[in-house]
């Protein structure tokens, strides 16, 4: 077991503290089953707040208006209310606000990439229509059997000449450093 150290750097990174400014101030109107959330307009853009409210429109009626101290007031009135549902609505709205915040941030960061990808896709789709396909190189004529044998014979001749030159070459390279793997590992004729 490794001994525990008191050094701060060895401790696991603490989870980032939630941004208090981004948490809306909540209040309730239990009589009409309405949740009132005063969202900080500086922490979240209007798009983010509206998107979070939009997600909850399946279970509540949403209205946006000015809140106190420059906040955006979101009123969410449950369509069919119970006190438990009202509490759950608050949690869901808080979570949804955080989700939409990240979603909008990602969308904003990737806007140029999205546009680039679509532009490239369109550009590629356009290419075949623009012109005829590039001319292809003419296919090489196939060799006849006689030609193939002639080439093999010539190659064999050249190889023999190289082999004949080998002793002179060996004198210059006694350790056979420049020899190829085939030359050094080729099976001997007697094998």
């Amino acid at each position: 077991m490794t001994p525990k150290t008191k050094s701060k750097s060895k401790k696991p990174a603490a989870a980032p503290a939630p941004d208090k400014a981004a948490v809306p101030a909540y209040s309730f109107d239990a009589k009409s089953f309405t949740l009132i959330a005063d969202c900080d307009a500086k922490a979240d853009s209007l798009e983010v707040i509206r998107s979070a409210a939009y997600v909850l429109t399946d279970r509540a009626y949403a209205q946006l208006s000015d809140g106190p101290q420059g906040t955006v007031r979101v009123r969410l009135q449950l369509k069919d209310g119970t006190p438990e549902a009202l509490k759950a609505l608050q949690t869901t709205f808080g979570d949804e606000l955080a989700t939409q915040r990240i979603r909008h941030q990602i969308a904003r960061n990737n806007v140029s990439i999205r546009e680039y990808i679509v532009e490239q896709a369109i550009h590629l789709a356009q290419q075949p229509a623009q012109g005829a396909p590039p001319p292809q190189a003419p296919a090489e004529p196939e060799l006849t059997e006689a030609q193939r044998k002639e080439i093999e014979r010539l190659i064999a001749e050249v190889e023999d000449e190289i082999r004949a030159m080998a002793p002179a070459k060996a004198a210059q390279d006694p350790l056979r450093i420049s020899a190829t793997w085939e030359e050094t590992h080729a099976p001997k004729k007697g094998d």
Binding site: R50, Y54, Y61, Q63, S65, K79, E115, V118, I122
Partner: protein, 137 residues
């Protein structure tokens, strides 16, 4: 929700701030609700005053639901507009490409003009015949 209800008239009235709601979206939402209610809109210092008059008899609960659905429709309209704004450039690119792909070559245009010229006398004859039949009928 600060709504004013008039059950006798089947009306619900509420105020919307122009900072959060656009006028054109009010008219779009009113159009969506045209079957269920008549919408009356007036301008106030902060925004708009909207009155929805139900086309069927409605109690307070029905009016609350009507106003709520109208408000949700407004949020939908706003979100739709934001999505359109975010993707405007991509939409333009795709439409431009579609138009570019659909354009005709000069040869195709000449062929189309030739066919139209050839078909014109036949079409005229057919139209004349149909008119004659209509007169007889």
């Amino acid at each position: 929700m600060d709504h004013t209800y008039d059950e006798k008239q089947g009306e619900v009235t509420f105020v919307l701030e122009s900072k959060y709601y656009r006028e054109e979206h009010l008219t779009q939402a009113a159009y969506v609700f045209a079957k269920q209610a008549s919408a009356f809109m007036g301008k106030t210092a902060a925004g708009y005053e909207v009155t929805l008059k139900s086309k069927t008899p409605a109690d307070r609960e029905a009016l609350r639901r009507l106003a709520g659905e109208f408000l949700n429709e407004l949020i939908s309209e706003e979100r739709r507009f934001e999505t359109f704004r975010e993707n405007k450039k991509i939409i333009e690119l795709i439409v431009t490409q579609a138009l570019y792909s659909a354009r005709q070559t000069p040869e195709q245009e000449a062929e189309a003009a030739r066919i139209t010229r050839e078909m014109d006398p036949i079409a005229e004859k057919l139209i004349a015949r149909i008119r004659a039949e209509e007169k007889v009928a």
